[in-house]
Subunit: 412 residues, 2 copies
C-alpha cells in the first residue's frame, strides 16, 4: 500500500461511527464542505445519533440513515453506498470497526490511536493490503500550524540534517478521569489508565515528528526503550476532590503519571516521546526538532539557527521566517481553517486535505504503515515498561519498503 | 560517610591542582575570601602556574609553593600543611588526584565529573570511607539561582510530591572540539568524544535534580536506559569550517550528538537527563520538575501551580513567588555572589558554602555518595548505549544508607 492511490471519488459518501462530540464536530464541518456527504451514522447511544441528525438539519441537509445499539455498527458495513467510514468512537473499537469497514470495501479514516495492541496494528496492515482500501489515521496534529511550519523548514533544509526530536501528549485530564458521570466528556479515558502502563496516546506528538524525519519513507524505527514513573497525581487529586474513602481514591491505577519513550532510528536519529495526562501541567506536545543547522521547539515557540545558534531568534525574525517558509498547504487553507476551527484549524486542514486526495485519486499523506507504526508505540512502550525499560525492537510494517521511499514532500 | 562531619578548620589551606582558567578563577576568589589560604599550586604546564602566581600577586598575597611537570601533582600529596585539595584539571585526572589526596589525609573538592569509570566511582567511595576524608564534587549548578529556588519550592511543598524531572547539559562546544590549537579553551574536550558514547557530562543537570528529589537521602536510583543519536554535527561542522580533506572531517567520533538517559528511582520517580555538546542549540540545563501540585521549567523560566495549572504564571506572579520562596542561602549570599560572579554567582555560593561547612565542621551538602552516583551516570549510560539502550542497574553507593537518611534541608 506504499504510495497507493484509489480511483478518484467525486462525491465522497461518509458513514460516521461514533457521534459524540468529536464525530458531530466533523459532521458539522462536512455539511459545509463540497464533494462530501454524510449518509449514515452510528452510535451506541440513541441520544448521540439524534444530536447528529440535528447537526445536519442545522445545515439544511436531509437526515442520514441512523443506527444504534451495541451491534448497530455492523449494519453500516452492509450498506453499499458508502465510500469512507469515519471512526470517532472510543479507542478499543477503532481496529474492529476499521477491519470490518475495509473488508466490506470501504476506505477508513480512524481517530487516534488506530490500534491498542500490536496484533491490531498488524491486522490493519494485512487487511488494508488484502482489500486495497485506505486506512488513514486522523492524526490532526500533522496539520497544525506549527507542525506544518516545522515540516516546511525541514524539507527546505533550514534545520540541516535532522538528528533528534522530542514530542509529547501532556494534557491534564484528571477531571475526565475522575468524573463521577460516566457520560461526561472523555470520562471513558479513565478506564485504560486502570489497565495499561506506557504511552497510551503517542500519535499526536509522534506523527508530526515521524513525518519530518521521513520515518517509513527513507528511515525507520529500530528499537525503543520506555520508562514510566509511578502513579502519584490521580490518587492525590481523587483524595483532594472526593476524600480518601471515595472509590476513585482507592483505584489501583496501572498507568504511571509520566511515561517517557526513547526511539532510535536506523539512520541514527533519536526521538523522545512522552505521555502525561495526570499531572498538573499546561498542555504541551513539545514539538522539538534539532538538526545540524538549527532547532525549533514549541510551548513556547522558539527557534535558533546557525551561525548564531547560541541565541534564540527574536520575535520579529521568527515572524519573518514563518511568513517566508510556511507550508503551502497552510497558506492555501488557513482562512477557511480559521472559520471552521477545530484545535486551531488543524482539524479542518486535515479533513480538507484528505477529501482533496480522495477526490483527486492521489496517495494519502498518512498511510496504513504510518497508522500502524505510530499506534504501535502504545503497546511497544507497555512491553518495555513492564520489563524495567528493556529494549523492544520496533516492527517494520512496511516490510522493507521504507528503504525505497521518499519523504513526504511539500504539497502545494 | 553519610552525614560525616570533619573537625572544624578555622583557616583552610588549599592546594590547587590544575591552574587553567577554572583553577585560576577560584584562586582569585579565594584570595578575597576570609578563612581560606591558597598555599600550593600544581599544573603540568609551567605557564599556567606562573599565571596562577599572578592572581595571588594581584590580590597582594604571598606566592604559593608551585609544582609542575607530569608528576608534580604527586609532590603536593607529600605536603603536610594542606587541608583541602581542589582539583580543576582535565577529567581523566580527577579520580587519581582525589584518591591520592585522601590517602595523604587531605579533604577533596573535585571538579565534575569526579570519575569517568564505574571502578573509579567505587574507588572514591571506598577510599573516602577508609580515610574518613571528604570527597566533595564541585557541582556548582546545585547553587544556581533557579536551582536553589527550585530546591526551596520542593522543600516547601509548593510543587507537591515530586514525580518527574528533566535536566541536561546542552552546550554547543563545537568550537572547542574542532580547535586546531590544542591549548585553546577546553580543546581537550574533543578527545573523549572520539572514544566514548553516552552522557559524558551528566552532573550539571542531574546534581540539582537529585537534590530536589532526595536521591541518596530517602530515595535511590533503581535502573537506567540510555540512547544516543548517531554523530552528525561535528563532522558537518568540520567540513564546513576546514573542508572535507581536513583531519577533523575524517575523525570517527564515537559520541552521538544527543544522548538521552532515563532513570527510574525506587520511589517511582522518573528522571530524563540529556547531553548534547555538538548541535547548534542555545545553552540549556532544562531544569524541569513536575509534581502533584505544579511544575517548573527553565530556559525560559516558567511555572504552573494548581489549581490553575493549565496556565503558566504571569511574570508578576513568578517574581512574587521568587521573592517569597527563594532559598535562604541565595538570599544571604546573593550580593557577594553578584560581585564575585562565576556562572551567574553559583560558583561563589558553592565555594563560600563549602568553606562555611568546613570552617564550622558540619556535614557537606554534597558527599562522596553523591559525587560517585552523579558521576556514575556517565559510564552507566555508555553501557546502556552500547547495548541498544539495554537496562542497567544503578549501583547503590550508600550501601542501603539512603533508606535511613533525610533529604537535604534548606540551610539558613
Amino acid at each position: 500500500m506504499a504510495g497507493f492511490a484509489a480511483p478518484a471519488i467525486d462525491n465522497i459518501r461518509i458513514a460516521m461511527l461514533g457521534t459524540g462530540g468529536r464525530g458531530r464536530f466533523f459532521i458539522g464541518m462536512f455539511s459545509r464542505m463540497p464533494g462530501v456527504e454524510i449518509t449514515a451514522f452510528y452510535d451506541s447511544e440513541p441520544e448521540a445519533v439524534a444530536k447528529a441528525q440535528e447537526e445536519l438539519a442545522k445545515a439544511g441537509k436531509k437526515p442520514a440513515r441512523e443506527f444504534t445499539g451495541p451491534d448497530g455498527w455492523k449494519k453500516v458495513m452492509d450498506l453499499g453506498d458508502i465510500d469512507l467510514v469515519w471512526i470517532a468512537s472510543p479507542w478499543e473499537s477503532h481496529t474492529p470497526y476499521s477491519l470490518a469497514a475495509m473488508r466490506s470495501g470501504k476506505h477508513v479514516a480512524v481517530e487516534v490511536p488506530a490500534a491498542v495492541t500490536l496484533e491490531e496494528c498488524w491486522d490493519l496492515v494485512n487487511v488494508s493490503e488484502a482489500t486495497r482500501r485506505h486506512c488513514y489515521m486522523l492524526e490532526n496534529c500533522c496539520y497544525g500550524e506549527v507542525e506544518l511550519l516545522t515540516l516546511s523548514l525541514a524539507r527546505q533544509g533550514i534545520l540541516g540534517e535532522l538528528v533528534h526530536a522530542e514530542c509529547a501528549y501532556i494534557h491534564d485530564l484528571r477531571p475526565c478521569k475522575l468524573s463521577e458521570d460516566p457520560k461526561a466528556s472523555m470520562a471513558w479515558r479513565g478506564a485504560p489508565s486502570m489497565k495499561r502502563n506506557g504511552n497510551l496516546y503517542p500519535t499526536h506528538g509522534l506523527g508530526p515528528v515521524a513525518t519530518y524525519m521521513g520515518v517509513n519513507r527513507g528511515d525507520a524505527m529500530d528499537y525503543l526503550v520506555s520508562v514510566s514513573s509511578a502513579e502519584f497525581s490521580l490518587t492525590a487529586a481523587a483524595i483532594e476532590k472526593y476524600g480518601a474513602d471515595h472509590a476513585f481514591a482507592k483505584v489501583k491505577w496501572a498507568l504511571g503519571d509520566m511515561n517517557t519513550t526513547l526511539i532510535r532510528t536506523f539512520r541514527g536519529r533519536s526521538i523522545m516521546v512522552q505521555h502525561d495526562c495526570s499531572s498538573p501541567r499546561p498542555y504541551s506536545r513539545i514539538n522539538l526538532v534539532s538538526g545540524t543547522k538549527g532547532m525549533l521547539a514549541d510551548y513556547p515557540l522558539r527557534m535558533a539557527l546557525a551561525p548564531d545558534s547560541h541565541n534564540w531568534l527574536s520575535e520579529a525574525e521568527l515572524d519573518k521566517l514563518r511568513e517566508e517558509r510556511m507550508h503551502p498547504l497552510w497558506r492555501r487553507m488557513k482562512e477557511r481553517a480559521a472559520e471552521e476551527g477545530g484545535h486551531g484549524g488543524m482539524d479542518y486542514v486535515m479533513a480538507a486535505r484528505l477529501v482533496e486526495c480522495l477526490r483527486q485519486g492521489t496517495a494519502l499523506d498518512i498511510d496504513v504503515y504510518d497508522t500502524a507504526l505510530w499506534s504501535a508505540i502504545g503497546p511497544l512502550s507497555e512491553m518495555s515498561v513492564a520489563n524495567r525499560g528493556g529494549t523492544v525492537d520496533v516492527p517494520d510494517f512496511t516490510r522493507g519498503e521504507w528503504t525505497r521511499r521518499e519523504p513526504l514532500g511539500l504539497v502545494p
